[in-house]
Structure formats: C-alpha cells, structure tokens
C-alpha cells in the first residue's frame, strides 16, 4: 500500500474501507517479483516466447480472480508455480494431440524407419543455423518435449528452477517421496531421450 492510499483511507474515515484491505501484498508486487522465474520456467518447458508470454499472463489473471479469496499467503510462490505447471501441462498435451496430423504426413514422406525420431523432429526448428549452442538448446528442448509433461515439468522445476524436491512436492500437490521419485525418473528419462535424439542421428533416422 502506498503512502497516498494510506492517507486516503484516513481521510475517508469509513471503517469498512480500512478493514477491507486484508492483503499486505499486492498482486502487482507479486507479479514484479515472480515474472522472471515464472516466465523462464514456462519458456524452458514450452520453448516459445509467445506461449510463455500468454501463459504468464493467464497465470496472473487467474491468480487475480481468486486473489481476494486466498487465505494462504505463505505459499504464494508454490501456488503461482502450480498455476503455471497446470497451464504448461495442458498446452503440452494439446500440442501432442495437434502434432499427430502433420507428423503422420511427415512420417509417410520420410519413408519407413525412424518413426520415433520423426515424431520428435517435428519440434525441431529448421533455422538452428548450425550454431552449436542453439543447436544444443533445441536438442534439450526437443528432449523435454518428447517426455511426458508431468516428468518434463518436474525436471525443469528441479534442475533449472533449482527448487528442492520438498517444494516441488507442494507445487505438484504430491508427497515428497513421490516428488523425489518423479524427479529421479525424469532425469533418467531425459538422459535416455537425449541420447536417443543425438544430433548425429537426428537428420537421418538411424537404421535399426
């Protein structure tokens, strides 16, 4: 609350207007504090600035709708991360469904063999331009996109957002043990997929 607003309250002298301000933290302040970590989280998962922009906006507008009914202000960061995670998982699932058609066409035109690689290759932008860092970044994103969204989000929360498994458990609304298991499996799954989608074998599907 700003100084000006405080004075305003006193001048109005209506008790209701004083008691109505039960929220010490303003949502705009919360936005300023969390916009970077949340946007980074979403961008890392979705790989698109536009989608990350949209989802960040959605998270804060949703947060706003329930803001005044929110009593638990101790876990605001977990709560925002949960909204973002749910949004990401929805979008990733939708993408996988949408990807089915173009991928089928792609599969047919590329001939038999390497169907799995083709499916994921649809996510790989062609304009990586041969720059190694960009290529590796796309390789990482491709690997994340190939994983079940629940695992990809747990992995990004742990490895990139640097959150401990106990905090991730709160975000995902599962037990700490389940969060630990999910992170552990997600890391192994990533390692396998990353290997499988190795750049050397990406352009030309491996022969079995």
């Amino acid at each position: 609350m700003t100084m000006q607003e405080t004075t305003e309250t006193h001048r109005l002298e209506t008790p209701a207007s004083v008691s109505a301000d039960a929220h010490p933290l303003d949502l705009a302040t919360l936005y300023e504090r969390f916009k970077r970590p949340l946007h980074s989280y979403i961008y890392r998962l979705l790989g698109s600035q536009e989608d990350a922009d949209d989802l960040t906006q959605e998270v804060f507008l949703r947060a706003h709708v329930v803001w005044h009914d929110l009593h638990d202000h101790d876990h605001l960061s977990s709560w925002l991360y949960r909204l973002a995670t749910n949004g990401c998982i929805d979008l990733l699932r939708r993408r996988k469904r949408l990807a089915w058609w173009p991928l089928t066409r792609r599969h047919r035109s590329s001939g038999p063999g390497g169907a799995d690689s083709d499916e994921d290759a649809a996510y790989l932008p062609l304009e990586s331009g041969g720059i190694p860092e960009i290529f590796e970044r796309e390789h990482i994103r491709l690997t994340l996109a190939s994983m079940p969204p629940e695992y990809a989000s747990a992995l990004v929360l742990s490895a990139a957002q640097g959150l401990p498994y106990q905090a991730i458990a709160v975000i995902l609304d599962i037990s700490p043990g389940a969060a630990a298991t999910r992170i552990s499996r997600a890391k192994r799954l990533f390692a396998e997929q990353y290997q499988r989608l190795d750049p050397a074998g990406l352009g030309k599907p491996e022969e079995e």
Partner: protein, 225 residues
C-alpha cells in the same frame, strides 16, 4: 541424519546389491537437495560402487543441460498489458451497486464522490438559507430566479452511482445519492433528510441547479464551486 521419512533409508556402503543401488540412485538424482550427512552416506556408497558413480555422471550431465536453458522474461508489450490488466481489474472488481462498502481499489473514486458529497452538503446549506429568505419575504416560490429545473427531469436515464448515509452536525442522518446520467455522462446529486429536506442538484455545462422540496431553485455558476 536429516532423514526424510518419505524416502527409503540410504543403504550402508557395503550393501551394493541392485536393491541398494536403486535406492542410492534416487538420492543421486536429488543430490543438491540433500543434507551434508545424506551426501556423505551417498558418497560412502559411491566409493565402492562403479555403477552408481557412472550413474551420477549421467544425472549431473542432465541437470547441467536442463539448467543451461536461458532465463527469460515477458515481452515489454505483454509486461505492460499484464500490469494494466491487474490495475484495471482492481478498479472494476467491485461494481458500485453491488457492494455497499468501499473497497481499497475504489478509494480514488471514493475521493471524487466525497467531493460530490460535499457539494451536496453545501447545497443543503445554501438552499436552507434561500428557503428561509423566501419564507420571510413571502415571495412566490422560485420567483426572480429565472431558472427552472428541466421539465423532463427524472432519474430514469441515470444509474445510481453511489449511495451514502451521513450524519448531519446534530446527528440527523441524511442520504446522499449520486446518479450517473448515461446520456450526458454527468453526475447528479440528490440529498434527502427524511421528509424534511430533499435537495436535487443537477448540472449542465455552465451551472448547477438545485431544487428543494418546495420547488425553490438556486443556481450556482460553475466558478462559484
């Protein structure tokens, strides 16, 4: 040891069977989140287990790769849009007619209304004086003013913008209703003190017209306010 009851206990260093390695593998993936004691127990196992040592390299590489994805922030336009939306929603979230008490977001509007309230209170005083003068002089009501209220005056084209009960100096409650004329976008104020005073202040471009229960009319130039 800072043990999480949700996780299986870390096996002793000698227990390098596949079962033991599976449990250690769980801890290897969470190495950054473990207490120093837990890390020590894990490393005692690693010292005698080549398989888990190799697994740790693989997991560390994964962490490093995912962590290498760059940070980002909302595009400037989106950033502005979100801030504007949060601010606008704050203003709109309590429509004036559905909630009797002011909320924090409406303070600015409240301040404006408070000003209108003062205008209405001033109207009560001025009209009371005018009424007294008229009664003393026994002049016909409204005579000499040259101003009349619009014959079509009604609140039908207006919505109640604000409603407030106040106490006069002697403790008598009076009601101030502010109407928003949707046609002209102007504000009108009616002040009612149960059956004793009813003052209407209607504004146009130049003047504010006031009318009380006995049809006495007062006029103020805009500058006089």
């Amino acid at each position: 040891m800072n043990h999480d009851p949700e996780l299986p206990p870390i096996p002793a260093a000698g227990d390098a069977g596949s079962q033991g390695c599976a449990v250690v593998g769980l801890y290897l993936a969470l190495l950054d989140d473990l207490s120093p004691e837990q890390v020590q127990a894990v490393f005692r196992h690693l010292a005698v287990c080549a398989h888990c040592t190799q697994e740790l390299q693989r997991l560390r590489r994964t962490t490093r790769l995912v962590a290498s994805l760059p940070a980002s922030e909302p595009s400037p336009q989106v950033d502005q849009a979100i801030l504007a939306a949060l601010a606008a929603h704050r203003e709109e979230q309590v429509p004036p007619r559905t909630r009797p008490f002011p909320s924090p977001g409406r303070r600015k509007r409240q301040a404006r209304l408070r000003f209108l309230g003062q205008l209405a209170a001033a109207a009560v005083l001025v009209l009371a004086v005018l009424t007294g003068i008229h009664l003393l002089s026994l002049a016909p009501p409204g005579a000499g003013s040259g101003f009349v209220l619009p014959a079509t005056l009604s609140w039908s084209g207006s919505v109640v913008y604000h409603s407030e009960t106040r106490l006069a100096a002697d403790g008598t409650p009076y009601q101030i209703e502010t109407y928003h004329d949707l046609g002209t976008g102007r504000m009108h104020v009616e002040t009612v003190m149960d059956d004793r005073v009813d003052v209407v202040a209607v504004g146009d471009e130049q003047v504010m017209l006031g009318k009380d229960m006995r049809h006495h009319v007062a006029q103020w130039g805009a500058a006089a306010w």
